[in-house]
Symmetry: D4
Subunit: 209 residues, 8 copies
């Protein structure tokens, strides 16, 4: 079994009955479970078994059960435009479900740099930052330059033309001129939230071993 | 014959004697000439004929003769890092040779956004801006968001890995979230300087027809 | 806030109610607003609030309110084929809404060069030219060679096979052998119209400061 | 054995002694031979055996022996810029060696369309046209639109940045808006000259069977 | 006006009423017309005006009127698999409509080379050959090696995975080891048929000027 | 000024005298400095000024001055093959210079999985892991699955053919089936070491604020 | 006729009636037939003629008739995730239909390496192994390193973002650090099963010639 | 330790002294060793220690020691052109060193199909076939169609232009229309020879267990 949070199901490409069955199994073993990229139908099916399961249609997360732990610091999730919201919320929701306290600053694309700069203090207070951006993905570089904490960049498939379904922000985040920026797959809000959470988990465990 | 500045020679891929001969011809017809991507050898050969010819080893521009006109406003050339200098200087030198007054702000990459923001006023005073950047090319978006004047972006081949010889900043400038940004080819400082100059020429001719 | 025309909404990827609400907000602040890539449904919803709002189904522009200014010179929009019309009209409509006087020359692809050449005078009278082309995008180079004014090239996604949804004309416009051509994203008629308008705005403001 | 002109050696990637030996063999069998992409060294080695062998350092063709036939019509080879010359001459030299009468019109890039149009009559008189162009390759579309004869387009590796060693003109020639244009590999002057010659051979054989 | 066969409409991306109207116009001027990539609906609309118009649902060609001329030799159209049929028939139908006599050899993919070799004589008798192939496009090289006549290769979008919608056979036909092969765009049966026809037209006009 | 470790110089693309001068400046301001991608010549020049400066020819790091802090936990650097050593050492050296305690496990490519598995305990004890791999980059996924700590993956340009100078491991690390893996640019050992160090710095500062 | 198993129809891109007719023909000649990528409709149509035909909706294989031979050893099919099942089953079903004894080990992605390692013995007993994996395709390298038998890797289109419909595992399997791994096209379960079967057939025929 | 032939060193990217040292170690453990992509210098250094070591400058294989076993059947290595020889010989030499009996048929590109077909019997007698081809790689499909034995295809980097250093034959071999073809990395003669040898080893071990 993978060392991580094994109670997560990747909903995409699974049938409703497959998800329902795996969810059941995970609830039995772990007492909690989460489905990413869940559909409305999966939610209805799972909620028939587990009325406490919660479905969020923006992040497409379907969750059941609370995290045993609550990490002390803040994870900050930023996104460039409103169309990046589903991915940003997948990141935020994943981190929260894993025990993080998440703050959100949305719609702070670099074309209006002053909106972003108004949050300088919030940026510097965060322990880990997640930057979600489509288009050219420039937000990651600017944020990376403003803080001395880990920045996890998530390119999104939001854009058109020379954007090539997210390839452009992926490459641009990879070649960012700011140090301290690492990158996850296009639209992989889950991966970013997960990585932020295990950094916080490390902090907590290292402080009180 | 092309409508434009016909007294320009693209030095790359030409032999020294080809350049020398074309330079001679252009000097006869136009009384001035410029070679882009000129080598040291081309400079020596041309200066044998035209001792007034000036060679700049950074921009690799070899020029002879002054511009008949001097445009009133300012062209501002910005670049992100010191490795972008040859391209930035090709842009600046081209614009100057065509009659522009050029101001330069170099080494203002977005990973240290405050250095750039210190020049807000200069940015806003410029009539046309040329943004030269390699790596992820994010500078174009930030500058584009700060001004209401035309921004001409030049991706450079400066970078490595996922940068793919300039493809990444090219795509990223193309998909910039800031309006008012148009793009020229990778490393095409000449094209950017030329385009800035014809905008200024339009301004001058339109004001005093 | 971004320096530019802040009263523009990018309709693509937004819900009808999101557009309706933002439109309302912009009308209150600016007294005018424009939605690009608007759908029929967005138009109906907005027109319920603002009966004066106008929807053009070809350009997919939804606008309300007149431009305060009218720029003196002409912007010329050319396109290669009839399938490029939506992008050409997005460019033209954007420029007009920002105060430009726009002339259109459509269906002048270079495979029938004489049709284009018949408009030589019109080409040379224009202050700024927008060239919209799919397929191989050769029109930008030919037009660029005929005029000494700024040419903004827009590759379109019109084509098939080795056209790769507009990648081919994008690359071809980028490497154009004509100087004075700058390029915007595939299908980005808005960006081209916007850039043309701010050049004209520069001209006007520079002439009567 | 291949049905075609078997007396051709592709010099690239062969050693001098390999070329010398194959040349010898072909001279014995066919009484004539040609090496493409030949180096100076190959020429010297072959000329030691065959003093009549002729080497052209621009086209890099090394030939020996005359064509048995001389085709009646004209093949017209056009190229866009002076850097395309080696490829254009490879095409022209190949066609001539195979029996064609070749006319050349060089340096007629579309950025100066009037230079090309001055040759309208020559264009229309040609039986087959070969268009050699780097940069964005637009010349193929314009020429294709001006004539009703077969046009063979050769993209060249001349260019930089978004040109990607010839990929851009290759794609652009492939998606040309002009019918009657077919394309060969980047820098494949030989292939174009060969194809032109077999069209002329077909004409001759069909007329006098 | 383009020099070629101006009575052809590219149906793809046009509305039924646009096609109907252009068809009408072409019939008036030329007395004949052809629509490529025509839909059933376009056919019905056009046949309402011109009951003699013929629609072929495989090639998607909609034609009206006979060719004034009939070229003497044979055009041979080959295809590799049954899924390539629509493209092969577009090529064949175009050539026929332009006056060619077309012979077809279908389903002769190189994985069963003996099926192809059984037609050696037919291959050698043809004046021009059109090779239509998806998958890896190897048929073009094999056929090119068997004949001494022009071979026009058409890559098709038939395939999956590493085939990338036809990019693979396009590249493979481009780099064919057989001389005398030229290539048109992916799925461009029309372009191949057209090019074959103008070669035959050249033959006819050259023989009886 | 960037928030981070400002005393780092990216040596690639700079002249020896540029590096020498910047090094001097940094030593004055910070009392320590590091050059990445330093050449032998740069080392000699800098050591003339600062005899304490140390040059490591494998990692190509040129450093001077000790870190003020020493972080408590371990950073583990793994690499797949011996050719990945320069990148792995760049990561390790950077992390050490920033205050980390680094352990190295080299030559544990997944084709010999048992070699890697022998280090299970070491893997699980590490606070942060850096995985350096060329070829197909599979090591990142396997390591990611074995630990519940942050894994920073570095694709290298080591490989040939379908490896495309590192594009293949970059894409493969991006799409890793293991959660908790984030990625930096091809060959960017510095970025990985830097990111590991700021995670450890966060841990230290969070534990004793 | 191809030397192989000619009684196989590639269902994709064929009409129901085409498949029905070819199936009929193959049954007459060979007494058995198989359709890959068969749809429900094709199954119904074929079963009307041949009630013994069996359709498996996961592998989309439609088969009729038993294999004449049964090969002695085992073919082992592994897959990384449950979404890879259709491809894995296409491979398994094809091999079985051709006479192989197939064992399956599914859902053994490398992120949980211990699940895979639990099957070490089974891996080593197999004569031929087929590894089916999407995402980053790392399973092929790990399995390749564990066995000394031929490994046939099948990249799948299962994944998102930087996965590019299977391009990433294809490239990664190609550049695998384990020797003995060969690769077939994305999603080509048929090709893998076929290749495994002809290896077993070679074994059988070589042992008892 | 990897299950395979552990006594192989990949010479590329290693220093002479690294190779010499590893060679020594392998000789001690296994009594035999092989270096692929070995340079002249490596050969000299190794031969100083092991005078029996043999270096072949075409295949760049440096070997020492005989194979313990000799497999009964034949491995057939084919290549398309003379420039493919180094890769073909790497495949052949590897297979031989591992115990195979290898036959070679070189220079049988499909543009002269009859040369290949002259070897039909040899093709059918082989147990395993290795097809080495650059350009468009069509040879793999033709050979695959002629035999019912495993075909291992090796794309080579021999070609130019749209060949993209071997990407084109790689993609084309991947999408081959012939079943029974599997593919290894560009220029990976070693991998092909290795895979052929383990098939023969399987045959031998299965026959006499
Ligand atoms: N949205 C997501 N993107 C990428 N990986 C995911 C996502 N959601 C879940 N995962 C990973 O996929 C694993 C579950 O995959 P599966 O067994 O296919 O449901 C989880 O443990 C995560 O590591
Ligand atoms: N660095 C450059 N990049 C792109 N185009 C250039 C450059 N320098 C000059 N040109 C263009 O090339 C033309 C001259 O090309 P040529 O006739 O080949 O010397 C000039 O008129 C410019 O339009
Ligand atoms: N420059 C060239 N580009 C592409 N193909 C060529 C070229 N020159 C010769 N060829 C082809 O290569 C064949 C000879 O190849 P080879 O046997 O390798 O010398 C000739 O018959 C031509 O078909
Ligand atoms: N799923 C598949 N992927 C690739 N090739 C296939 C597949 N199924 C069948 N084939 C091949 O396609 C041939 C039949 O093609 P067709 O004549 O078009 O039905 C078979 O003999 C196989 O070689
Ligand atoms: Mg930072
Ligand atoms: Mg702006
Ligand atoms: Mg111009
Ligand atoms: Mg024409
Ligand atoms: Mg031929
Ligand atoms: Mg983990
Ligand atoms: Mg193995
Ligand atoms: Mg076979």
């Amino acid at each position: 079994e993978r060392t991580g949070y094994p109670e997560v199901i990747f909903g995409h490409g699974k049938t409703v009955s497959q998800v329902r069955e795996i969810f059941h199994r995970l609830m039995e073993v772990h007492g909690r479970a989460m489905v990413t990229r869940a559909t409305e139908e999966m939610a209805v099916a799972v909620q028939a078994d587990f009325p406490d399961a919660v479905y969020d249609s923006v992040s497409r997360l379907l969750t059941c059960g609370e995290s045993a732990r609550r990490f002390p610091g803040k994870v900050l999730v930023l996104c460039a435009g409103t169309s990046d919201l589903p991915v940003a919320e997948e990141a935020a929701g994943t981190a929260e479900w894993m025990g993080c306290q998440v703050e959100r600053i949305y719609d702070v694309g670099v074309a209006g740099i002053d909106r972003l700069l108004a949050y300088r203090d919030k940026l510097r207070e965060a322990q880990v930052l997640i930057v979600v951006a489509g288009m050219e993905g420039a937000l990651a570089s600017v944020v990376g330059g403003l803080v001395r904490r880990p920045v996890i960049a998530v390119p999104t498939s939001v854009g058109y033309g020379a954007h090539f379904q997210g390839l452009t922000p992926l490459l641009s985040m990879m070649t960012s001129c700011a140090a301290g920026v690492t990158v996850v797959n296009i639209d992989n809000g889950f991966g970013a939230g997960y990585s932020a959470a295990i950094i916080q988990q490390l902090v907590m465990e290292a402080c009180s071993p």
